[in-house]
Symmetry: C2
Subunit: 404 residues, 2 copies
């Protein structure tokens, strides 16, 4: 595996041949609400979606596009309206949006994916979307990427982007991405959208395998409030312009590519968790010594998702009883006698017994931006991580607001 | 099935031959912290426990007691210390508590069950427990029952009791109960303890079947914050003093007995939900038309447990998008096109489409003590209910407090 390095101010236009933009279409008052990603050439593409029974209309359209050639050249994203629970009209609207974008950029319709985030149960304002599409002028500069990054936000407090590069087959291969997280005041729910671009040469089939594996370790391991949206989508486009030999699991640098994909995904996922509604901190839970990786991931996600752990972190309380309790109800194998728990660098519990620790140092540690909880089960080699945020008064404030 | 009727001010001493009491042992400053239930004669008994991997020491001792003859004559309960995650010492302490009570009341040790609620990871103060046990004087009057009901509370704001009676085989058969809910400021978690008494004649085997069935429909269908405690326990004692013929599923009045057991359990469960930490309202979710009862229960519990639904209720927001989203991520069969949702008497969604409803009437409805959400899936005959509470600023306040 070669070294991978983070690109300062890198974004989804860092890989060769990608452009982006964002505009205000009028669905929202002044903020950008319509964005697009464009690849100079058709890109091998893969996607994963929410497991909700109520997958929104744009997800169905994107699945339809990918089913033809597993290639995309453009992604259209709107915020302000999720186009979810909108019936036949909603599906028609999503197809019409795809068609409008395809016509403007002279693309086959199935080279266009669409994604939406915003209010559930309301219809897209198609006149505004249509005229917004006419204004889209993707470009490969940082300012244009930022227009896109802002266009996809809802109540997110910050844009979310990053990029990594590595040398593969003598060529620089780059992976970049942008994402948005939780949630919407008016009204609805945390929708996670993430878009990853790369100039690597790789088939859609291998890309899909890679994306699923990485998503399970990153995006699927974050939780803000345990509610799964109707619109969650991660799409990755690989346009092959880097000039490397085709990447397959047998390629000597497969791990290098996977490392970049995982780093981009993990960074975006952590940014989403840190920017959860009302969050004051990122919480990172790492589980060692589980029977296998999957069980470690399950345990980590139970702990990071526990309301009682989240409020304890908000209250700067080294409440290991809540941590062990969350491990206790996780559907995994546990030996109740062999649990270690550490908060930051301080061990709190060793072989399920409390050890002497400094309450003051812990309280000091809780003042930081990130709280790390480590758990060792001493059963096997399984390792997993999960990310979330604390549960604060502001979460209640944001989510108890009247929609009116 | 005969009529069952609620006994005004009924409690767990309403059935013949039961007595109770509660005292301050000194573990807590002034409030009662040690209580007991006593039956004049050994009672056929059954119990269900938390599924946590970290079952507390008292649960192991109670299981041990019941494994001998499935009979109990006394239950000792302390609050202030959960005796959970306390290792071998904790187990020894629980056995010693059982022994002290058995000696004082001249009972075989295995006729005594023990239960604890309170701080995790601290040891029982055995000197105080021992001298507290010497002060216990159970009696069959309302004041003594109330001493017990208060002794088991932690941050509960109110005691929880009820009783029902019915005529079976010409005899009055009574079922009564007491419970405590969530949670502890210093520090830990929601522990649910419920104790049910009856003078019905029924074998421990049938009682266990009945308890499991009723628990699945009641106590297991409440959620305050999704965290499962290390100490949750429901115990039922049946001393047979009512003089009915033995109750079995073939007895013509089996359903009458089950109805009483279910009503007592449902009322205690709802009282626990209503008294959840920071709760301002009881939330009741009823699901109709699921593929089967189990799927209906799963869906109801997902909706009532959703943080976004809970904050919407706190904010008096008829946010059906959050309700349908919670149904959407429930692990059940759903037809996304055929969902009805009503809040109180007002239909909001019909066949997955929004219908005209009065936002003002909904806001008025949300001001009440109970918010009822009804969901029809239109797939089958499955029916299920779940209970919870809203998520308020006070939940954060209570749970973010420093333990110090």
């Amino acid at each position: 595996m070669s070294a991978i390095s983070k690109i300062q101010q890198g974004s989804l236009i860092s890989p060769k041949g990608f452009a982006a933009t964002g505009v205000n279409s009028g669905v929202r008052e002044t903020r950008n609400d319509l964005g697009m990603i464009f690849s100079e050439v058709p890109a091998e593409s893969a996607a994963v979606y929410t497991t909700s029974h109520f997958q929104a209309a744009p997800i169905k359209v994107t699945q339809d596009s990918l089913s033809v050639e597993q290639k995309l050249q453009a992604i259209l994203v709107n915020s302000g309206c999720a186009n979810a629970c909108t019936g036949k009209q909603g599906l028609q609207d999503a197809y019409q949006s795809r068609k409008s974008l395809a016509e403007k950029f002279h693309l086959p319709e199935h080279y266009v994916a669409v994604a939406s985030t915003g209010v559930i149960g309301e219809h897209l304002q198609m006149d505004k979307i249509a005229s917004g599409i006419q204004k889209l002028q993707p470009a490969s500069d940082e300012a244009s990427a930022e227009q896109f990054e802002t266009a996809i936000l809802t109540t997110d407090l910050a844009t979310k982007k990053c990029a990594f590069e590595a040398v593969i087959d003598g060529q620089t291969v780059t992976v970049g991405g942008a994402a948005k997280g939780s949630g919407m005041i008016h009204p609805n729910m945390a929708t996670m959208l993430a878009f990853i671009t790369t100039d690597a040469l790789i088939s859609a089939e291998h890309l899909q395998t890679a994306l699923r594996q990485v998503t399970n370790q990153t995006f699927n391991q974050i939780t803000v409030d345990g509610d799964t949206s109707t619109n969650d989508t991660v799409v990755v486009m690989a346009n092959g312009l880097a000039g490397n030999n085709p990447l397959t699991p047998d390629h000597p640098q497969w791990d290098t590519f996977m490392a970049m994909l995982k780093e981009v995904s993990a960074i975006l996922a952590k940014k989403i968790a840190r920017d959860g509604e009302g969050a004051t901190k990122l919480v990172e839970v790492e589980v060692f010594g589980a029977l296998n990786d999957q069980e470690a991931q399950v345990a980590a996600k139970e702990v990071v998702g526990s309301n009682l752990v989240k409020t304890a972190v908000f209250g700067a309380d080294a409440n290991w009883g809540r941590i062990i309790s969350a491990v206790g109800y996780a559907d995994i194998t546990v030996n109740p006698e062999t649990i270690d728990i550490a908060i930051g660098d301080q061990t709190i519990l060793e072989q399920s017994e409390v050890v002497a620790y400094s309450e003051e140092q812990i309280i000091e540690y809780f003042k930081g931006e990130t709280v790390k909880i480590s758990i060792h089960l001493h059963l096997g080699e399984g390792h997993g991580m999960a990310w979330g945020c604390d549960l604060s008064y502001d979460y209640i404030k944001i989510n108890a607001s009247y929609r009116t």
